[in-house]
């Protein structure tokens, strides 16, 4: 237990340092470049004030609309979080069985269509895939809402989560990488001596070697894919008109709304680093060397 606490505090310290670094970099860039930013050209004091704003989650007001940034960002952040976490789980759910199957059977009759499928899914442009899904769903079925319901009669928004999560889960470029990694690792584990020995003794090796082989690489790759999935969320939110952080970031880009943009970058970095903390803790829980 002490181990986890130690790792946690070390990683939180790391995260704070990195966030200070990221915001310092962005503040420096904002100061070098044209465009209005509150506290521009006033040096370190304003930077410390910005840090205080960010770390107390009181983000101030937008310079375009004059609204409170907290009231804009947090609902969007919640929506993006749902989208991201859902699609990560969907990606794992698709790619892990394919990887295990293709390692266990080899690249033979049954598994090659699945592997090719994983490659196709990770190299298709995600917005085209989104439009394809929208076209098929809206033309031939029509039972799933194709946009995020807004307004008074919004009904149940949970159903509208299905399609964006589906599209981002299939199309976030990480499926083929996870498949390849798992297949390689599992193949390596299944040819080690102890697995061959236990196979000779008549044990079922698949599940034990699955646990041995894939958990560590799976955890490390999934959490390191979070920035890419947030990046894909920008596109998918644009396709589905989904009121999330990515669309907000795009809108802020068009408006040159630097305060909103720095808040979004801060939240995205926070997501990534929290993912890293979870990854370290999970790895130290899984890895038998550290026990």
């Amino acid at each position: 237990m002490m181990r986890f606490v130690r790792i946690f505090f070390k990683e939180v310290f790391n995260m704070a340092l990195l966030i200070v670094g990221v915001t310092a970099l962005l503040y420096l860039l904002f100061n070098l470049m044209p465009g209005f930013f509150p506290g521009k050209g006033q040096g370190v004091i304003e930077y410390l004030r910005l840090l205080k704003k960010l770390f107390t989650f009181q983000f101030g007001t937008s310079i375009i609309s004059g609204r409170d940034i907290n009231s804009i960002v947090f609902p969007a952040f919640r929506n993006t979080l749902i989208l991201t976490i859902g699609s990560i789980f969907l990606s794992i759910l698709i790619s892990v069985p394919i990887g295990i199957f293709s390692a266990y059977r080899g690249f033979k009759t049954y598994s090659w269509p699945l592997v090719i499928f994983s490659y196709i899914m990770s190299s298709i442009p995600v917005f085209y895939f989104g439009y394809l899904v929208l076209y098929v769903i809206s033309r031939y079925t029509g039972f799933l809402p194709i946009y995020y319901p807004q307004g008074v009669e919004r009904g149940n928004p949970v159903v509208s989560y299905v399609l964006p999560i589906l599209v981002l889960g299939f199309g976030n470029e990480s499926i083929s990488e996870i498949v390849r990694l798992i297949a390689n690792e599992l193949e390596r584990v299944m040819h080690t001596d102890y697995v061959i020995a236990s196979k000779a003794m008549g044990e079922s090796v698949l599940w034990s070697s699955v646990n041995e082989g894939i958990m560590i690489p799976l955890v490390s790759i999934v959490f390191s894919k979070i920035p890419f999935i947030i990046g894909g969320a920008v596109i998918v939110e644009h396709v589905f008109n989904w009121p999330g952080m990515g669309r907000l970031a795009f809108q802020a880009t068009l408006d040159r709304d630097l305060p909103v943009l720095i808040v979004i970058a801060f939240l995205a970095v926070l997501c990534v680093r929290v993912g890293m903390i979870l990854k370290e803790i999970l790895l130290s829980y899984i890895n038998p060397i550290e026990k």
Binding site: F107, P125, Y128, E187, I235, F250, T253, A265, A268, V272
Partner: protein
Amino acid sequence: MKRFYFEKEKPNIEYFHVPLSKRASVRDVVSIGFGLFVVSYLFVFFGISVTGTFIKDPMEVNIGAMFLSPSLEHLFGTDFLGRDIFSRIVKGTEAFFIPGLISISVSTTFGLLFGIISGFYPKYFAKIIFFFLNIIDSIPRIIFILIIIVLFNPSIYLIMTFVGISSIPKIASYIKSKVEVLKNQHSIEAARALGLSQWAIIFKHIIWLSTKPVLIIRATLGMGESILIETSLSYLGIGVQEPTPSWGNMVAMGKDFFFQGKIWLSTIPAGVILFTIMGLYLLGDGLNSIYNEKVSR
């Protein structure tokens, strides 16, 4: 072959002694062949589009021939202004080819530099370098690019330079782990004992003999990534602007006619993107599985 009982049998052949042609499985050969095909047609398309021969004018508007289906005259059909889609696809390679090469060269050069420095001097430089690389790594790439677009209002060349910068950390950490393994090996020790200088060891034994495959693999993957970034940005409307053809641009323009049933307008460019990126990924994976010394079979 064992002829006498007192002869020792040959030891198991170590992995890196097997010639490259015999290491490859059928899957590797197929994927590398597919990848090389893709790379070669990219080069051919780029050459054609630079010299401007063999194809119809990609900018020529012909209102009388809008929305034609694929035929012999127009190989991939025509778009909403009657422009030939095939020649636009060929011309569209210009939009990402040089920028992609810039992105690759930035990321591999600096990744190699930082990786080697931090691999050789883990005490002094590695922590500082990797602190800064972690800063770059933890900003999601698209948000980083959006910020760059707000600040610099850049062309596609500058955007791709920043894409290259954002993939430095990955390459640097690969090279660093490779160097950390390599520098304790006997061959490097022997080279040092023979009196070779540090630079000779770095350039010949580490870069040229050992990290070359990693760099080639990262370069192919980086080209695929830069194509995907270009298409995504063009879809959002902040990449290459419309009359100039680019692949992402064509998919993004064609999507407006998607729901009218004219799906080839965006499906054909999307299919070309899919084919190309899949080829590049497969090339990278095939090379990876050939060069990877861990999986020994």
